[in-house]
């Protein structure tokens, strides 16, 4: 496994979590167990009654007696059917409730994760947990848990009924237990890895396939078609090999389990027949015992069927619960900003990603209310990291970032967002309606406020043209917004959030320059009346700012107004020249 991936909970934690869930829902759990046990008991009447019928027929009886016994059989089946239904419902309720709780708490803990930790792990890890693991658990929780609870109690009770019929005959069924258990243990040892590997081959196949469709233009342009087809065939042969591996496991498991579950009926007849000739057991006992042994095969094979899924589910649970174990990087202390002096201050701030090289070193910056500060510098200088620290999204490794004297990471989230917000070049549109997308910034906003926010960023026109207005569903598979529209949406969220300080990290950089220019109008509407820190690689932003900070290799190397810095003729002046298309001096183009 790649270092840096999100943690996986250990065995003890998963167990504790499962126990806690069981305790919290002990009533539901008791209902599932109780109902399925009762259903099984009703089902056990069948062989017992048939045994009696066979014996009565043997000894001669009346039609009336047979009708009575048959009537009892019908009653037993009806009771069993009704109980099965309610036991299924109870199991379903338990499974759905546990699953909903689990996914909600997973989402909750993901939302609390330190951002740096997510980035270190890569979003792939998170996505696979959010989709694959939640799905694996769904099967285990919705069908597996009820099935296993039902089958478990059914197997135990059937065996109990067998003991009631005749303890020595019941002992016969135990003969095949040792080989069965040994084989199942062997299988489980290898099965999990085998199935995980198989699933991995399928996800790889699907990922490549999605890329083949989405990347169709690039494939045609670069003539990668043949390569993509070969890749898909390679993925298929990988999947085939993985399938063969688990098939071989099953080809050893199935014959053993089937023989161990079916053959005991023959053994039972042999022993029972011998016992009957000796007068130890009656014909009714032999018949009932033989039928019970046959009946026992069903719940036991159900248990075996679900073992895999439960095992995979436990592995997924470990991955979901593991996320909750990461300590948050912010803690509310009750510190409050000084109302009279709300300046944003970074003091001797340092930051390194997970023990790596420091990307920021001893950065000192003070931004006064209402000021517009531009941060410029080459790629990789630490501009975005600084932006995050200034917005209180990550905690600094060293030093502190505070507003009005209160450290940002000690403010409650709701207060923090009133102080400072960050918009980056990522303009993610969330799956949901336009209304939901904008209102993320302030859930209690009404339609009028949302429309006003959209209008403020020049987005009222296209928003009104959407088929269902604010109710239009956005995101993949629904209405797709263009990049500039998505960025306007991000800005509308800001208008609604209404923070005192704005950090804009390359907010328009991924856009086409002409679209960007249009957006800048939207942007200036948002910036009006706020403290703004804008991070940019395009210098026109810097020119309009009150002050410019040049960040190079994690340190602020120049700080001052545009004109001061031009006169200083340092790094900023060189950048400015090169942006203006002047012949760059060799010093500005280090190779």
């Amino acid at each position: 496994m790649r270092p840096g991936l999100l943690p996986i909970a250990d065995h003890a934690t998963v167990k504790a979590y499962a126990l806690q869930v069981a305790r919290r829902h002990r009533r539901m759990l008791a209902a599932v167990m109780g109902l399925s046990s009762l259903a099984t008991v009703a089902g056990l009447a069948g062989p017992r009654l048939l045994g009696t019928i066979v014996q009565d027929v043997q000894h001669g009886t009346t039609d009336g007696r047979i009708d009575l016994l048959t009537g009892l059989l019908v009653l037993a089946i009806c009771v069993q059917a009704v109980l099965s239904r309610y036991s299924y419902l109870a199991g379903k309720a338990f499974g759905e409730t546990v699953l909903a709780e689990l996914r909600e708490s997973f989402v909750g803990s993901v939302l609390d994760l330190p951002l740096s930790r997510i980035e270190q792990a890569g979003s792939g890890d998170l996505i696979s947990r959010a989709s694959r693991d939640v799905n694996a658990l769904r099967q285990a929780a919705q069908q597996g848990i009820p099935a296993v609870l039902g089958a478990g109690s059914s197997a135990l009770l059937t065996f109990g009924a067998l003991v009631l019929v005749s303890p020595p005959l019941a002992a016969v069924t135990l003969i095949t237990m040792p080989p069965l258990l040994v084989t199942v243990r062997w299988y489980l040892r290898y099965a999990r890895d085998g199935y995980l590997a198989t699933n991995a081959t399928y996800s790889a196949m699907l990922e490549n396939l999605a890329a083949t469709v989405d990347g169709a233009a690039a494939i045609e342009a670069l003539r990668l078609g043949r390569q993509r087809v070969t890749l898909s065939d390679t993925d298929i042969s990988r999947s085939w090999r993985a399938e063969l591996r688990t098939l071989r496991l099953r080809l050893r498991l199935f014959p053993v389990t089937e023989s161990c579950l079916l053959a005991p009926a023959g053994l039972m007849l042999l022993c029972g027949g011998y016992g009957y000739t000796r007068g130890w057991v009656s014909i009714a006992q032999v018949t009932a015992a033989t039928l019970y042994v046959q009946q026992l095969a069903t719940p036991v094979s159900t248990l075996l069927d679900w073992l895999d899924t439960i095992q995979t589910g436990a592995a997924s649970l470990a991955r979901l619960v593991g996320v909750a174990g990461i300590p948050p990087d912010r803690a509310v202390t009750g510190a409050a900003p000084d109302e009279t002096n709300r300046r944003l201050a970074a003091e001797r701030v340092g930051f390194a990603y997970d023990g790596g090289r420091e990307v920021l070193r001893d950065v000192d910056l003070i931004v006064t209310p209402g000021e517009h500060l531009a941060v410029v510098g080459p790629s990789g200088a630490g501009k975005s990291t600084l932006g995050r620290l200034l917005a209180g999204i990550s905690a600094p490794g060293r030093g502190r970032v505070s507003v009005g004297g209160a450290p940002l990471v000690e403010l409650p989230l709701s207060d923090l967002r009133g102080e400072v917000a960050l918009v980056t070049q990522e303009h993610h549109v969330f799956a949901g309606t336009l209304r939901e997308n904008v209102a993320l910034a302030r859930p209690d906003a009404d339609d009028e406020e949302i429309l006003a926010a959209l209008a403020a960023v020049d987005a009222a026109g296209w928003a009104a043209a959407l088929p269902d207005g604010l109710g239009t569903r956005l995101g993949s598979g629904a209405t797709e917004l263009s990049a500039p529209q998505a960025q306007q949406l991000a800005l509308a969220r800001l208008v609604l959030a209404d923070p005192r300080i704005l950090v804009l990290d390359e907010a328009t950089s991924l856009l086409d320059p002409r679209a960007a220019r249009h957006l800048e109008r939207s942007l200036s509407a948002v910036m009006r009346g706020r403290t703004v820190i804008s991070i940019a690689h395009r210098l026109h932003t810097a020119h309009g700012a009150d002050r410019v900070a040049v960040l190079e290799d994690g340190q602020v190397t120049e700080l001052g107004s545009h004109h001061e810095l031009i006169e200083a003729d340092g790094a900023y002046a060189r950048l400015w020249d090169s942006w203006h298309g002047e012949q760059p001096s060799p010093a500005a183009v280090p190779d």
Partner: protein
């Protein structure tokens, strides 16, 4: 057992869903037959166990014959072992059939997707195609998997019915009538169940989409503090899904009850009739037990029939969806009688807009509107045919590049209209680079190399040309570093440079790039602009851009407004002569009005040829 995926599949029959399924069946009829045989052997072994138990009771217990007991109890054990063996073999065959069908469905889909090409995302969404390869191919696989058990079930029900009929017409009739009635009753519930289950799955998909949303949008959420709102909305949807699950559970629970009730009642019916027959001496005690056994056994083939009906229905729906994808056709078609490809060193022209790139030229195009840039670039590389109507194939391509082609014609290579050239050959000569272009997962080396056999030194040279050494330096594994899906492990600026490097390595005769440096910082952009011309020396490069850094380095700049070339010339001259151009490329900068700035630009032309990195001279082309 056949090894998968097997040889190259032929052309699928996409006449209809059924025909597609039959086409797949023909591919695996041999293993279908063997699967069915194992299925019959397996299910019959199971079906005969009650008969053997009955005999053991009659001969061995009631008849007190120890040989009879040993023989028939032994028969039960032998049948059990036979079930174990034939069951495993049946599973092996059925899985092979499942996978062979599913893989085949994926393979024909992928092959067709690649054939449709660049138009595909416009015709269908990747979600649809991915759904095809996950759920639909699985449904198709199940259709071919169930046949083994289904055939077995059919054989077993027939045999059991015959045995019973042979014993008693009444008993046999109960089975013959009871089985179809039970199947019908079950089918009644299946339809509403599937409807709810489908709804559940859709909603489940939406919810997992939201979970994935967090992973992708967490930075955005953090930036505005939307975490709580998001969590509340998620919890709301999650609870809705839960209650839908409970409602679905209600139907499922009826089915669970029915699974107990219907076979149970059949068993009771059979037992009751048999007990009466036994009481009057028509059948033995052992046969009574055997009948009870048969009746209980029937639950299995019955369930299999239900499963088979379900698998066929889903398989048919899935096949219909696949057929729909297989019928997609690209709007760009190869000409019926393609013209011969012009020799290398051809001029690329577009009479409609007046754009013309001479062989070997570094042409920059500054478009006043983004849409124009996108459309012109797509037209020049023939990713769209929205130009003038097609005049018909040109039988005799002019060997001399015509500087002034007929304005009625669309884009042309050496005056041969692009539409009359074979598309594959055109793609080889003309490469379009756009910012949305996909970056495929794999190693960085594979990603850059594409179909070329470029060695590491070439890759490094291309990375240097796009000023991307810093990207490489940041990767401990260097060229072996993994590129994630959509290149997510790289920043926007880094991806842009990787895309450009990839295009440089493909080394097309004509490269057309749209805003290839919009996401990199000024420093880097200046370096790339300087090095691009050198790297592409001798080949044609057309860059759509409004960045002064790039325009300044081009051999020639075409200024496009309203979809037409308004002026051409070197950057400096256009800056001074064209106010519109100046406003476009020096946006927001007050120095644009500063005459000294412009003068510098004009002076710059003179020294262009002597740039620090030795860019090519401009004079010959712009003169």
């Amino acid at each position: 057992m056949r090894a998968l995926p097997g040889p190259e599949p032929g052309d699928p029959d996409c006449g209809s869903a059924i025909r597609l399924l039959l086409w797949i069946w023909r591919d695996q009829w041999g293993s279908q037959l063997s699967g069915a045989s194992w299925g019959v052997a397996w299910m019959l072994s199971l079906a005969l166990i009650p008969a053997a138990i009955g005999r053991a009771i009659d001969r061995g217990i009631v008849g007190r014959s120890s040989t009879g007991l040993v023989i028939w109890a032994g028969a039960v054990i032998a049948l059990s072992l036979s079930v174990a063996f034939t069951g495993a073999m049946r599973h092996r065959s059925a899985l092979t059939n499942f996978l062979a069908a599913a893989y085949l469905a994926i393979r024909i889909t992928v092959r067709h997707a690649v054939k449709v090409g660049a138009d595909l995302p416009a015709l269908t969404s990747s979600g649809d195609v991915v759904a095809i390869s996950s759920t639909d191919t699985e449904a198709i696989g199940s259709t071919f998997d169930i046949t083994a058990r289904g055939t077995g079930a059919l054989a077993a029900v027939t045999v059991v019915a015959l045995i019973m009929l042979n014993m008693s017409v009444a008993l046999g009739s109960v089975v013959l009538v009871g089985v179809p009635v039970m199947m019908g009753l079950t089918a009644l519930l299946l339809r509403p169940l599937h409807r709810r289950q489908d709804r559940y799955r859709t909603m489940q998909g939406t919810l997992s989409g939201q979970t994935i949303d967090i992973a992708q949008g967490i930075r955005v959420l953090r930036g505005i503090g939307g975490e709580d709102a998001f969590a509340a909305r998620y919890a709301d949807r999650s609870q809705q899904l839960r209650s839908l699950g409970l409602r679905t559970g209600r139907i499922e629970s009826l089915l669970a009850a029915q699974e107990v009730l219907l076979p149970g009642l059949l068993t009771v019916m059979v037992t009751w009739l048999a007990a009466r027959l036994a009481l009057h001496g028509s059948i033995s005690a052992g046969q009574l037990v055997a009948f009870y056994g048969y009746a209980s056994f029937l639950a299995l083939p019955l369930a299999t029939f239900g499963e088979a009906a379900d698998a066929f229905t889903r398989g048919h729906v899935a096949a219909r969806r696949i057929v729909a994808v297989l019928r997609l056709r690209s709007a760009l078609t190869d000409p019926e009688h393609p013209a011969a490809m012009p020799p290398a060193g051809a001029a690329l022209t577009d009479a409609g807009s007046g754009l013309a790139a001479a062989p070997g030229q570094f042409l920059a195009v500054a478009c006043a509107s983004t849409e124009d840039a996108d459309r012109l670039a797509a037209r020049l590389a023939r990713y769209t045919d929205d130009s003038a109507p097609h005049p018909g194939p040109d039988p005799e391509p002019d060997p001399e590049p015509d500087p002034e082609p007929d304005p009625a014609l669309g884009p042309a290579l050496a005056a041969v209209p692009l539409r009359s050239l074979p598309l594959a050959a055109l793609r080889q000569r003309v490469l379009l680079v756009r910012n949305g272009d996909w970056v495929f997962p794999g190693t960085l080396r594979d990603c850059l190399r594409g179909v070329t056999e470029a060695g590491d030194e070439h890759l490094l040279a291309a990375l240097r040309a796009v000023s991307a050494q810093d990207i490489l330096d940041g990767l401990p594994d260097g060229l072996d570093a993994p590129v994630a899906e959509q290149g997510r492990n790289f920043s926007g600026g880094q991806l842009q440079r990787l895309r450009l490097a990839r295009a440089l390595l493909a080394d097309p005769e004509i490269m057309i790039a749209v805003e290839p440096t919009s996401a990199v910082d000024a420093h880097t952009e200046a370096r790339i602009a300087g090095q691009l011309g050198t790297y592409r020396q001798g080949r044609t490069t057309v860059v759509f851009t409004t960045s002064p850094l790039v325009l300044h380095r081009a051999d020639l700049v075409a200024y496009v407004t309203g979809g037409m070339v308004a002026a051409t010339g070197p950057h400096a001259r256009l800056l001074s002569a064209e106010p519109g151009y100046r406003a476009l490329v020096t946006r927001g900068a007050p120095t644009a009005n500063d005459p000294t700035e412009d003068d510098t630009g004009v002076d710059g032309t003179g020294v262009d040829g002597t740039g620090v990195d030795g860019t090519i001279a401009v004079a010959e082309v712009s003169a």
